[in-house]
Subunit: 295 residues, 2 copies
């Protein structure tokens, strides 16, 4: 049993840098597991006060500093640029032997950049849960976002196996169903298909020049589902798309090909080919996504 190899150690001090939806969810999950001490850093004083009042964290700080030396593990729950800036400014404070990890969505050569900033005894293990949720802020955080989720670890050659094992142990302890390990290159290719592309399709669908005053009365479940993520955080996703540009352009082209294949079959009214295409889609959907039909 994979989980059995690596039990999560609760007698540690963990720092959460960025106490929003994801950071707050880590804090709540780790508190529930009995983590000895939880420290959070966030510019938002209200979020810190709320988490202290909830008993979810033991210490709150609005910026980095020497107190970071307490932490056996630091989890960065913020955008890549803010994380780089924080690490640059606080590298001297990290405990020798500390494990750093993150939740950023595109990996590229970020780990290498961070490794260049860190003292020899500090290990940055890149990763993230596949557990995005709508909404934002500590108020929306919940330990349950990890339940049954997949957790991706993207190690670099410099990472110690023992440290990777500790991040894996944490993911399973938080409730994740699977923890998988991939290279940064493979990670960004897969994410381009499973996350960036669906966001592009949703926005292109709603931006297609088909609007009439009647359109809203014709909105069907398929349109509702297909455009759900079009209600997007525009500045955040602009950055994510640009940071994975080549992979995303490749997936857009490949999707365009699949769409054109369908259009050609429809144009020549090739009934058996269309039916087979749809049957393949139904089969693949069932293989890829296991879920109860709840609506």
């Amino acid at each position: 049993m994979e989980q059995g190899d690596c039990n999560f150690a609760t007698e540690q001090t963990i720092g959460i840098i960025g106490l929003g939806l994801i950071g707050g969810s880590y804090a709540k999950g780790l508190r529930r597991l009995g983590t000895a001490k939880l420290i959070a850093v966030d510019v938002d004083e209200e979020a810190l006060q709320a988490a202290l009042a909830d008993g979810v964290i033991d210490e709150g700080h609005q910026a980095g500093g020497e107190f970071l030396a307490q932490a056996d593990m630091l989890i960065f729950c913020m955008a890549a640029d803010a994380m780089l800036e924080f690490i640059r400014g606080n590298a001297a404070h990290f405990k020798d032997g500390a494990i750093l990890t993150d939740v950023t969505g595109i990996k590229g050569d970020m780990a290498r950049t961070i490794e260049g900033m860190l003292p020899a005894g500090v290990d940055f293990i890149s990763g993230h849960p596949m557990a995005g949720r709508e909404g934002k802020g500590y108020g929306m955080a919940q330990a349950e976002i990890f339940d049954g989720a997949n957790y991706i670890i993207v190690p670099s050659p410099a990472n110690k196996a023992e440290h990777i094992g500790k991040v894996r142990a944490m993911a399973y302890a938080l409730g994740c169903a699977h923890v998988v390990t991939v290279s940064p290159e493979e990670h960004d290719k897969l994410i381009a298909y499973t996350s960036s592309l669906p966001h592009v399709l949703a926005t292109a669908l709603v931006n297609s020049e088909a609007m009439s005053p009647m359109t809203k009365f014709f909105v069907a479940g398929s349109f509702r589902d297909g455009t759900r993520v079009a209600d997007i955080n525009a500045p955040l996703w602009t950055k994510l798309f640009l940071s994975n540009k080549e992979n995303l352009l490749y997936e857009i082209d490949r999707f365009g090909d699949a769409l054109q294949t369908f259009a050609d079959m429809l144009r020549r009214e090739d009934t058996p080919a269309i039916t087979q295409y749809l049957q393949q889609a139904a089969m693949r959907r069932r293989e890829l996504v296991h879920e109860k039909h709840t609506h």
Copy 2:
């Protein structure tokens, strides 16, 4: 108040032709409203027995016949080809002054074809609720599918205004929030965009040649939502796509343009343009679809 103009008359006999998910939902909704007599026709004897046992219908038949002459209104809840065949075989049985209506998803010149089969005193008012649900069969039917839904009526020049008003009254009585009236041409254009296109995109996304053994671990909420309807009834949707071919090809092209616009902005790394494109998408999504974020 639109509803006030046209109260639903319960002292009538209504026939439901096809007692599956949609037909069963009409029957349950109409029974709840106190409709005097409900007759159903379905080849599936078990569905009829279940509905009789539930008290949802008063009479069940496995085929058409003279008993149809009782019905003030007949609601066809079946595919277009089966409906045409039923009407062709039973036109002589319909009551003088009866209103016929349907739920088929693509309209084309179907109403004209049906009008050619009907005696002078029988009026066919085409329409459908925007209330599709996953699942199938009488067992999944529920009166609640109409709650807050939109209802589309697609009148022909031959329809009597009074009869259109009766279908509208029924839709409001069943719980629909809006009843709108459009021409068959406009209907099929709108449906191509709001229903057919999202189904094509979902199947093309899952059929895109991007699969690896790792893909399933990277499935995000956006992919899950964007491919939900890819688990499709292939023979049914093949027919629907082919029956609305020109409009659907037009929407696929237009979507391809929107996608290409995005790819071009990404290729030239035009940050302000991408951000604006995403902001427009977010605004349009919120205008078009009002819903609580439940997951």
